[in-house]
Symmetry: C2
Subunit: 768 residues, 2 copies
């Protein structure tokens, strides 16, 4: 496994961007300054639901330095990645506290702020709809009475005259028959809280609109420039060729920077500034109000079990609070739904997901795209069942997990399933089965261990393209639109080029993504880049090697069939001294005036099949599997949970670079820890009450336990070198593993997140 | 020809960049401003030849705002496109007045100027070598005693212990035998003056050097970014992948902006500014001193003629004054030499070209690359012969011109030869044979008519690459490194994409050249882009259409062989309603999440063959042919020549866009007029005496005669749609056509340029 069969792949190379990043020299989008640049910002609604009675911008218009003011009334556009439900600036109605109402561009940010303070918006407050369960009831007032008139993609299934903007439904086997066969039936409900992605770099966009050429140029820290291009083209009716999106190095996305975010406001301001670029950067408070969050969920699981402790039937219902606008909520509820029965072999499954509008912060993508929410539910549920059945939780999972060739809940026969090894390694790393040393249990401290495992599918369908260019001196350029957002993609994708072409990794220059120049990629999300872009790169390199073979055949006057090639060399099979490397071939073919070899490829997995109602893909390119185990201390006097050890074993198929894999897992564990213990966007009466780093508590370095990240490698037949992905799964098992350990420590089953001291203490006290 | 067989090709489409250019909105390189940008400039040698005794930069270093000072002593590098004879800043010796000696970067240009004024350079003057004929003599002092130690490309043939940095030699037939058979032998000598390209936009470069990543980014108004990349990589030992050259829209090149010009000084300054970009822009005075000129030439032609007025033998010797450094002088002398016997069928030919160093301004490329100089000589010579033989000059040319299938002086059998039609059309347009109306000849005014024709080969070998991308909405991106420098290439190359893919031309976005992103192109010179890049584009589109066919075959479940495609559509041959256009195919193949089709191709003509000593290509991809005819008035009292009509018929193979072809010809005629009548860089004692628009006289709009540009189309079998090129030839026949008309008017044979009033009057007076 990844030991010696490759030269560069599998090597723990230091990240190519490490030095410039640790030296603080990377120019992120927020750092960009362009000549004649203006600054823009929007006035946000202070109310979760209100009618806009009047907008008076007269005073602001007279402020020197103000260059553009735009109101929603001027903008007939709507946009939305799944449902086109959203105006760029609110028209008539505001639907959440934080919705942009008026936007201003001016020569500096102080002038912008002054102008915003001069704008008078008269609102008529309306009662906000805040509870998704109330919102789902028949006859509830509607956040979007026009829902059925919005155009939407096949990913959304709105229900007429409701706030349900999408109903996801999956049926596998016969759920009623399954329950009828069950020896035990256990049902429970779990919730997850509202969380923010908290990227180090906030959202930004600079837009420039040339009134003469009709061209738009944007600099955006997006994870999906091509999706933004498509959405902008559709929303504003601009030919795609006239939109250029340049992506600077991105300081974290975690899903937050996918789909249009700051772009529309920057663009509509830029349309009024006569080719002067307009820069809009979110403050931290804006990140937590007007930008997307991970919406809260409520999941009910009902499981039927055989006498032997096998799950025979499972029914799952999840309510997804997507807030005021759908964004990708319908996709998240679908993606979460696809795996919400867990990585187990279960013959009879029924899954429903309801994505519901409320007058709250908009639910968007968050590392895992719904999987974190449902795995919290099913892995807490697995724990309860194990305890009720009196089976060791590890043993109970091992008894039920999916194995190579099993049909999972979507009907796909699974392949590359390292779940058993993940569970065993994660358990062993915290000495599963060996009681926590009682030395720790003095006074109010209780110790316990817990385990959890998950599966996550990559999104489908999607495609990636790559262009590889070999220069006259043998150095290589890789053109692609995978976004380096801290995950190390530039390093591991360069390693693949190096592997294929037989050059050192540092001979490969990776281009900055730019939709005018770097080829299409669907998005840098869904843990898809290693697999999809990796395959595109291998194909693009194969295109290069084919050209190398042709030049070699021409040079030595043999047929293509007589030539072999590998690792950037081609030779005549029968005369291995008749050999050319890439540099030599370029010299032979192009001569003194030079030239480059260009390889190009698009990769689109062809295993995608949709069921009749296009809600359930029968097959996705691959599933990732992971298990994590935690050992915790709980202080029963304060309710404080301290994680001592957190092991994480992830089946990545094949590690292209073990170090970057382990770094991805470690980063995710830290993030998962926050979501498990402290993080929550507190929304009260529709208003975000903690929009800052002081009141929204992310874990610091001092809060980190001992992380034990581990790689499991069960190669995937379609993956590049067998690789799958690792970006998202690292987060999903963390909270249930910790909560299961807390249960082990204090015997309280916590079904709601986060496990902050208040909640933990409340649970302990209730029990006593 | 070019009438109805194509949809877009051949159409007189308005240039796509017309609007932004006439509105003054184009951002040229000189307009660029980057954040934290510094300004740079070099102190130039005031002497044509001197020893640098001491450079004292101490006072300048203490000036606030100065960020970097570089002297030649610090720079061990040499560069040069053909001979690596040139330091970036002079070391020890300055070899021409205008040579950069010390460079400074500072926060603004005033500070730069102040710093330069504080730098003390102590020189010891040396006698300058100014006359190339003296320089050629054995025992002459040497401008470059180290010549033989410099590395050089195969294009240069230096002669040891001389100032001859290259000797070009071509032998065809047996010259002595040819002269022995001749009935008449006529010998004459002709000279051309030093001229400057006088681009509207002067040379500029911005360089940024990141000390952490090791990457160099340059913004340069070059016509050949890939050549600059190669030269920089070689000179400074930088991997090619670490050099990025971005080319903004360019305001004219005419050869001046090929090979390294301002780049090295900008780069060595940037190496000292810690990642702050440094901008260097030439003033007009610097353009005329430190930048390249068209060096002066002296050509002797000796022709042997049969009784029937056929040329049987021709010997040509040209002395090319390349100034202090070779730049591309050896290439120019070779390229000029290749055609210097004229577009005539001549059995016995001997050509020598001597490219000679002097202590003068550096001779570089100038529209035509030597052809203008030699055609002045051979077409004046043809006129003399015609008059001596008593044959009408048109008739004499028609009797001798190359015809399809003839062997020309390099031994290549010529193809696509529209020369006869060019001569006839040019002549007819000024009513050749009909005497100039004597009404014009009152008082001191004399009228006359003249004609001239030329041939020009495109450079070889060279290659072009293109990437074509089709977006989900059917709009197209064309990625290429052809430089739009005012010639209309972006328009006509987009037309070819439109033709191939069946879209309107305005659906094609053309990328700005950038070596990190746009694929290799050898250079935008040598009238090569329409042919070479056009072929690359057609092949890249064919790559797209092949993919379209494959998707169509998959969609309708037929074999590839059953599918046909044309103009962006593919269909099942037997069922034409089973058809997909590109947009539909992308939707079918990539689905909702999108994708783009990527076509790529490199084009390298394979007709290149070199003779043994690599001096004479036996074949180049194509020759261009042209004829021009002038009607002039000469004032015998003032010597002033007024051109009344100037007709120009050019064989372009196939006009991709007749309007842009005619514009190219018209622009060249204006430039040719200047070179014929007024333009000259006046160098006295090695010092340029007229480095400004006041004393260097280019013709204004008011000086323009009636231009009658015409297109002749004799398709070339290898050209895209039959096209060849048109950029350079428009200039070459202008001066001899005018001089021949002056001869017709006043009976004086002027063999030296320009025909300014002083020279014309002197000739008339001498005659009288």
């Amino acid at each position: 496994m990844g030991e010696t069969q490759y030269q560069t792949v599998g090597q723990p190379i230091t990240r190519t961007d490490a030095k410039e990043k640790v030296m603080g020299r990377t120019i992120y989008g927020v750092d960009l300054v362009l000549p004649r640049m203006l600054y823009g910002k929007a006035l946000l609604s202070p109310y979760p639901h209100a009618r806009i009675v009047n907008v008076d911008t007269r005073a602001a218009r007279h402020l020197p330095g103000v260059k553009a003011i735009v109101t929603g009334q001027e903008l007939p556009y709507t946009y939305g990645s799944t449902i086109k439900d959203r105006p760029i600036l609110a028209r008539d109605i505001v639907r959440f506290a934080g919705e942009p109402v008026v936007a201003v561009a001016a020569v500096d940010l102080d002038t912008v702020e002054d102008a915003l303070s001069l704008i008078q918006v008269e609102y008529e407050e309306l009662p906000p709809l805040l509870d998704p369960e109330i919102a789902m009831e028949a006859g509830s007032p509607l956040v979007h009475p026009e829902l059925m008139s919005y155009s939407h993609s096949y990913a959304a299934r709105p229900i007429v005259n409701t706030n349900i903007c999408s109903h996801f439904k999956l049926r596998h086997g016969d759920i009623e028959a399954g329950f009828a066969l069950a020896h035990d039936i256990i049902e429970e409900t779990y919730t997850t809280q509202m969380v923010e992605q908290m990227c180090m770099e906030p959202h930004m966009a600079i837009a420039q609109a040339d009134p003469v050429s009709g061209r738009y140029t944007l600099w955006v820290n997006t994870a999906a420039p091509y999706i933004s291009r498509t959405e902008l083209a559709q929303a504003l009716e601009i030919p795609m060729k006239d939109i250029r999106i340049i992506v600077p190095p991105v300081g974290g996305s975690f899903g937050a920077k996918m789909y249009l975010k700051v772009e529309p406001i920057a663009v509509v301001l830029a349309q009024k500034t006569g080719n002067r670029p307009v820069k809009v950067v979110m403050t931290r408070a804006e990140e937590l109000t007007t930008m997307v969050v991970k919406g809260p969920t409520k999941t009910t699981l009902k499981s039927g079990l055989t006498k032997e402790g096998k799950i025979i039937a499972r029914q799952v219902t999840t309510i997804w609070d997507t807030g005021a606008y759908a964004d990708c909520g319908p996709r998240i509820s679908r993606n979460g739904g696809h795996t919400s029965a867990g990585p187990y072999y279960i013959p009879h499954i029924s899954i429903d997901g309801y994505c519901v509008y409320t007058n709250k912060n908009i639910g968007g993508a968050f590392r895992g795209y719904g999987v974190q929410e449902v795995s919290w539910a099913y892995e807490r549920h697995m724990e309860t069942i194990a305890h009720q059945l009196g089976i060791d939780p590890l043993e109970f999972r091992l008894r039920n997990i999916l194995q190579e060739g099993d049909e999972n809940q979507t009907g796909q026969k699974v392949h590359s399933v390292g779940l058993k090894e993940c569970l065993e390694k994660a358990a062993a790393a915290i000495e599963w089965g060996k009681p926590s040393p009682k030395s720790g249990e003095n006074g109010s401290i209780r110790r316990g261990k817990g385990i959890a495992c998950i599966h996550k599918a990559t999104g489908a369908p999607s495609s990636s393209s790559a262009i590889v260019r070999v220069n006259e001196d043998g150095t290589v350029g890789l053109l692609m639109s995978t976004i380096e957002q801290g995950q190390g993609s530039n390093t591991i994708l360069a390693q693949m080029v190096a592997e294929e072409l037989g050059v050192p990794t540092n001979a490969v220059a990776v281009s900055q993504p730019d939709t005018d120049y770097t080829p299409f990629d669907s998005s840098t999300t869904s843990s898809r880049s290693t697999f999809h872009m990796g395959n595109a790169i291998r194909l693009a390199c194969a295109d290069i090697l084919e050209q190398l073979k042709r030049i070699t055949a021409e040079t030595f006057q043999v047929t293509m069939e007589e030539v072999e090639s590998k690792n950037g060399k081609a030779w005549v099979r029968e005369k291995p001294d008749q050999v050319l490397n890439l540099k030599q071939a370029i010299g032979k073919y192009f001569g003194a005036r030079g030239g480059t070899l260009i390889g190009r490829a698009s990769y689109r997995p062809d295993v995608i099949a949709m069921d009749q109602d296009a809600q359930s893909p029968k097959a996705v390119p691959y599933y990732m599997y992971a298990a994590q185990a935690a050992e915790v201390e709980v202080d029963i006097e304060t309710g404080k949970v301290k994680v001592l050890r957190l092991s994480a074993a992830h089946d990545v198929g094949q590690a292209i670079n073990p170090v970057t894999c382990l770094q991805q897992i470690e980063g995710a564990l830290g993030m998962g820890l926050g979501g498990a213990l402290t993080e929550e966007v507190k929304v009260d009466a529709g208003i975000t009450r903690n929009p800052n780093f002081h009141d929204y508590k992310i874990p610091t370095a001092l809060d980190m336990p001992l992380f034990i990240p581990m790689i499991v490698e069960v190669p995937h037949r379609d993956g590049p070198y067998g690789a799958k992905g690792v970006g998202e799964p690292g987060l999903a098992p963390t909270a249930p593993a910790i909560a299961n350990a807390v249960y082990d420590a204090v015997g309280v089953a916590y079904n709601d997140l986060p496990l902050n001291p208040e909640r933990v203490l409340r649970g302990i006290k209730k029990q006593v």
